[in-house]
């Protein structure tokens, strides 16, 4: 996919965090050290490019825990491919299982 070729370090870091099981904005910020002003717009952009998809948390779980439901992000197969590509370019990331993002993705 042409768009992933020049992906920035920050972009790869976000995909890496998702592959590592992080699921929403603030978790990803904590994992990557990126600012909120970067993470949220990038997630939007990735969703438009179909590298990630988002879904709302089951409202019942949220209700049980006494908080609003979260927007969870997961990698798509294209996102997994982009991540593998990025990991080849940036060697500093911790290894993470990238292979099997057939869509269920990201739950540990």
């Amino acid at each position: 996919m042409a768009r992933t070729r020049g992906m920035s370090f920050g972009g790869v870091a976000i995909l890496h965090a998702l592959a590592d099981g992080k699921r929403f904005g603030f978790e990803i910020m904590d994992a990557t050290g990126l600012t909120s002003g970067t993470v949220y717009p990038t997630l939007d952009r990735f969703e438009e490019a179909r590298l990630v998809r988002s879904q709302w948390e089951d409202a019942r779980i949220a209700h049980r825990e006494g908080r609003p439901p979260r927007r969870y992000f997961t990698l798509t197969p294209a996102g997994a491919e982009a991540l593998s590509d990025g990991l080849r370019r940036f060697k500093t990331f911790r290894p993470v299982a990238v292979g099997d993002y057939g869509g269920k993705a990201g739950r540990r």
Binding site: F24, G25, F26, M29, D30, T35, S36, G37, V39, Y40, P41, D44, W56, E57, A62, R67, P68, P69, R70, R71
Partner: protein, 889 residues
């Protein structure tokens, strides 16, 4: 959830609520849910004190991301489809009339380029006086005070005592002195500048090594115990080709072997503001690299002191606290420290810094470039207004077929932004070039003056902000005006009711430009006069054709006896060279920029001190022929001779100001003064300007060098012809005596004097340059206005001609209108100049800020320019063919 966490969460949710309206309606609800959920999650961790959990401050700070996110969504949603269309359309329109685009872009580039260049100078000298420092805002300069001065240096013992007794408001104190060094790498000796610095200097400034280590407290343990040196990044690249293996290598510095232990990061260039230094050696190595034995001498003040203040402490508080320590020191060392205290200055206020020298000039230049930018904006606005008039039909049609007003305004703003961005980009390039070109104005100087290289982020941001502000200024007004035409009349005949308004607006813009150009030109004229006067004012000596060269006997290991013999031999040899009329050595040179030179306290025989008075007088160490070489007239007594040397009766020469100050109406010759022993005044010479021409004459003294020795001296040679012709002879004369004595900073007297008038020269060149540009811009503005007016009035002019009006009458009509506008602008400008320029009178020399001649010349030049600018459209008007003009529509 704790109260703090609850409050932080409420605050963060408030930010989300505030930002929500920015989000496009279609996504607003989801966006809000997402942020609310995430903030709740994060807030839950605030209380847990888990490792990695955010503090409440970080949490609130993170919440600002909601705002960024909202803005991003808004910009992308609303702009995308139409934005690119606008850009394409705008670019097409601009390329269809490339003349207009090129002129507008160049104008903006000019304004932004000039501002960017001056701003990078401001940043270099005022805003980041010590680049590379950590939290530079907490650094402050500490100067010694006496009853009369607040800008003195500090002696090493006083510094060390203060450093060891720091009050809590000061977390670190360091001392340094910029000194010239001779660095030998292998067989090759070269001049460099370094700082002799207390070993904690890098800790206090907050600099980490690039390679190796920097100076550390151990290096200040004992005198001569730690021959190590740190080199700057620039020097490392220049001298060692960036080889990391240089750490550990031994080099000779002033004849002593030093080991290089580390390299500083690229940004750091020393604690001395305005200079770029090459090396740092620990203070304890002083006797190896710098004359005298200073570390134990409490009376010998030679160091600059830098403090790092505790968080939240200002200079005034630190000064109070340090003065408590200084008062203790004064009690403990009554003989040397009585009435001594300290003054603490923010770096940019330090009276001995580069900022003190450059500040007033840069302030003036900032105002000037700001004015140029305003003129540029006015000109571009005027251009866009004229263009708006042309496009009224097009816009009216688009409105008529249903375009919304916001759509039209956005389209016009996009076009202006395109212009501003392009202009900003070109301007940024230009500012880099201009900023560098300005250094060409600095004549050769012995000091390693720091130059601004490349762009700093701040300059880029300021330039961008200027470009955007310019866009709004000149984009919005015409855009709003144009998109509000009365549709029907515009479609009918292209004229309209708002025409008169627009004409008035353009006329006042042009008159305003003229006024500002007049202001600049008058200022430029005053500085040009100042420069002329600088050449006319008598500095007290008549040496014009001369050569200066510095030598240093220290690295070659001369003591006083051998050094004096060497200097005497060299002088004799040089005076025998063809083309040389006289030669002498001196420590201090007249007309030196800045605050160099040395003062010493003296006691004057028979002079009764008034309460609190102390006598501190500047002095020089000279060989006998100095007065003949410089051409300083003798007022009374005799000059020095070869016999005035150690062992003979101690003598001294003083200047007229000193004689008149301390022995008014009486002969000074034969009186005595005490400076470490009594000396007899044997001669009085005319006053010489040592610190700039504008300063009133100060008392001054000349010690015979053959009596009081210094190893670092400047050679002055008076030549019959071109001074450069004797350079080789001078070098040979010194090298044949001793090849190890470095000769450096060879310069002519003319170059030396040019450095002294640098601030005035900078002002004159910049004001003159910008003033001329402003005049041209106003001329173009006037021309554009009249040309447009003539085009508008073509039918009327045609009717007048058809009815028998003489073409010369038409010319008078148009030129008269131009001159009326210009005269109105000029009157405002002259009044403004008379009001504003007296503020700069401290920088003027021999000319009043309201100098009538300058004002008259500027007015004449301006009106001539205005006449020329109006004559061109006037001629076109007179040449109108009545028949075609009447058929115009």
């Amino acid at each position: 959830m704790s109260r703090t966490a609850g409050r932080a969460l409420r605050f963060a949710l408030g930010v989300v609520a505030l930002a929500a309206p920015l989000v496009p309606a279609a996504r607003r609800l989801a966006w809000r849910h997402q942020w609310t959920a995430d903030l709740h999650h994060q807030a839950a961790f605030l209380d847990t004190r888990q490792p990695g959990a955010a503090t409440w401050f970080e949490f609130v700070w993170r919440a600002r991301g909601a705002l960024v996110h909202a803005v991003v969504l808004r910009v992308r949603s609303f702009a995308m489809p139409t934005f690119f269309a606008d850009i394409r359309y705008g670019a097409r329109l601009l390329t269809r009339r490339p003349g207009f685009a090129v002129v507008a872009i160049l104008l903006i580039a000019l304004g932004i380029g000039a501002n960017g260049a001056i701003f990078s100078w401001v940043e270099n000298f005022l805003m980041r006086p010590i680049p590379g420092a950590t939290d530079a805002g907490a650094l402050a300069s500490v100067r010694g005070t006496t009853l009369t001065f607040r800008d003195r240096s500090t002696s090493y013992p006083n510094f060390a005592d203060m450093r060891d007794r720091l009050p809590p408001s000061v977390v670190g104190l360091t001392a340094y002195r910029a000194i010239p060094l001779t660095v030998r790498v292998g067989d090759e000796a070269e001049r460099a500048w370094g700082e002799l610095a207390a070993a904690n200097i890098f800790d206090v400034v907050g600099v980490r090594p690039l390679h190796g280590r920097l100076l550390q407290p151990d290096d200040d343990r004992a005198p001569l115990a730690s021959p190590v040196a740190v080199v700057s990044h620039a020097y490392w690249l220049r001298r060692f080709g960036g080889d990391p293996a240089v750490v550990g290598r031994t080099v000779g510095i002033n004849g002593t072997p030093f080991t290089i232990v580390g390299i500083t990061p690229p940004a750091f260039r020393g604690a001395s503001t305005g200079l770029a230094l090459d090396l740092w050696v620990p203070m304890m190595m002083q006797t190896a690299v710098y004359p005298g034995d200073r570390l134990g001498a409490r009376g010998n003040a030679w160091l600059a002191v830098l403090a790092r203040l505790a968080p939240g402490v200002d200079a005034a508080r630190a000064e109070r606290d340090l003065n408590v320590v200084a008062a203790d020191l004064a009690r403990e060392h009554l003989d040397l420290n009585a009435d001594r205290g300290v003054a603490v200055y923010a770096l940019w206020r330090d009276p001995q810094s580069a900022a003190a020298i450059m500040g007033p000039v840069l302030g003036l230049l900032l105002v000037v470039t700001g004015i140029v930018l305003v003129i540029v904006c006015a000109n571009v606005a005027s251009l866009l207004l004229a263009r708006g008039a042309v496009r009224r039909r097009e816009i009216a049609i688009r409105l008529a077929i249903g375009a919304s007003r916001t759509r039209i305004v956005r389209q016009l703003l996009t076009e202006s932004s395109l212009l501003a961005m392009a202009g900003g980009a070109v301007g940024l390039l230009a500012s880099g070039l201009l900023s560098r070109a300005l250094y060409a104005l600095i004549p050769p100087t012995p000091l390693p003056i720091a130059t601004v290289g490349g762009y700093s982020l701040r300059v880029v941001l300021v330039s961008l902000a200027l470009a955007m502000a310019t866009t709004i200024v000149f984009g919005l007004v015409p855009a709003l005006q144009t998109s509000r035409p009365a549709l029907v009349p515009t479609l009918k005949d292209g004229g309209g009711a708002s025409g008169a308004n627009r004409r008035r607006l353009r006329s006042s813009i042009v008159a305003g430009q003229v006024a500002l150009s007049v202001l600049l030109l008058v200022a430029a004229g005053l500085f040009v006069r100042t420069l002329q006067h600088a050449g006319d004012v008598d500095p007290g000596f008549d040496l014009r054709q001369g050569l200066l060269a510095s030598i240093d006997l220290l690295p070659a290991g001369y003591d006083q006896t051998r050094g004096q013999a060497f200097l005497g031999d060299v002088i004799e040899e040089i005076q025998r060279l063809p083309g040389v009329e006289a030669a002498a050595f001196a420590r201090d040179i007249p007309l030196t920029l800045g605050t160099g030179g040395s003062d010493t306290s003296v006691e004057v025989e028979g002079y009764v001190l008034s309460d609190g008075e102390e006598i501190s007088i500047g002095y020089d160490l000279v060989t006998p022929d100095l007065f003949r070489t410089l051409g300083v007239p003798l007022v009374a007594g005799r000059v020095l001779t070869d016999a005035d040397r150690a062992g003979a009766e101690p003598v001294i020469i003083i200047n007229r100001a000193m004689a008149e100050r301390y022995w008014p109406g009486q002969p000074a010759v034969g009186r005595r003064i005490r400076v470490a022993g009594w000396r007899t005044v044997v001669g009085v010479v005319e006053n010489v300007s040592y610190r700039g021409l504008a300063a009133p004459p100060q008392p001054y003294m000349y010690f015979p060098l053959y009596d009081v020795f210094r190893p670092d001296m400047t050679l002055l040679v008076r030549t019959a012809g071109e001074p450069r012709g004797v350079v080789d002879g001078v070098r040979r004369a010194i090298r044949s005596r001793d090849a190890n004595v470095p000769v450096f900073d060879v310069r002519t007297m003319a170059e030396h004097r040019a450095l002294g008038s640098l601030p005035a020269r900078l002002s004159a060149v910049m004001l003159g340059g910008f003033g001329t540009v402003a005049l041209l811009l106003s001329g173009i503005g006037l021309f554009g206005l009249l040309a447009h007016r003539v085009a508008e009035r073509t039918p009327e002019i045609g009717i007048r001609l058809a009815l028998g009006a003489e073409p010369s009458r038409i010319v008078r009509l148009v030129v008269g209108e131009g001159l009326r506008l210009a005269a109105a602008g000029a009157a405002v400008g002259l009044a403004g100049a008379a009001l504003v320029l007296p503020l700069a009178s401290s920088q003027l020399l021999g000319v009043s800020a309201r100098d009538a001649a300058t004002y008259a010349v500027v007015s004449t030049v301006l009106l001539a320019g205005a006449a020329l600018a109006s004559w061109l459209p006037a001629r076109r008007a007179a040449g109108v063919d009545p028949v075609r003009a009447i058929r115009h529509d």
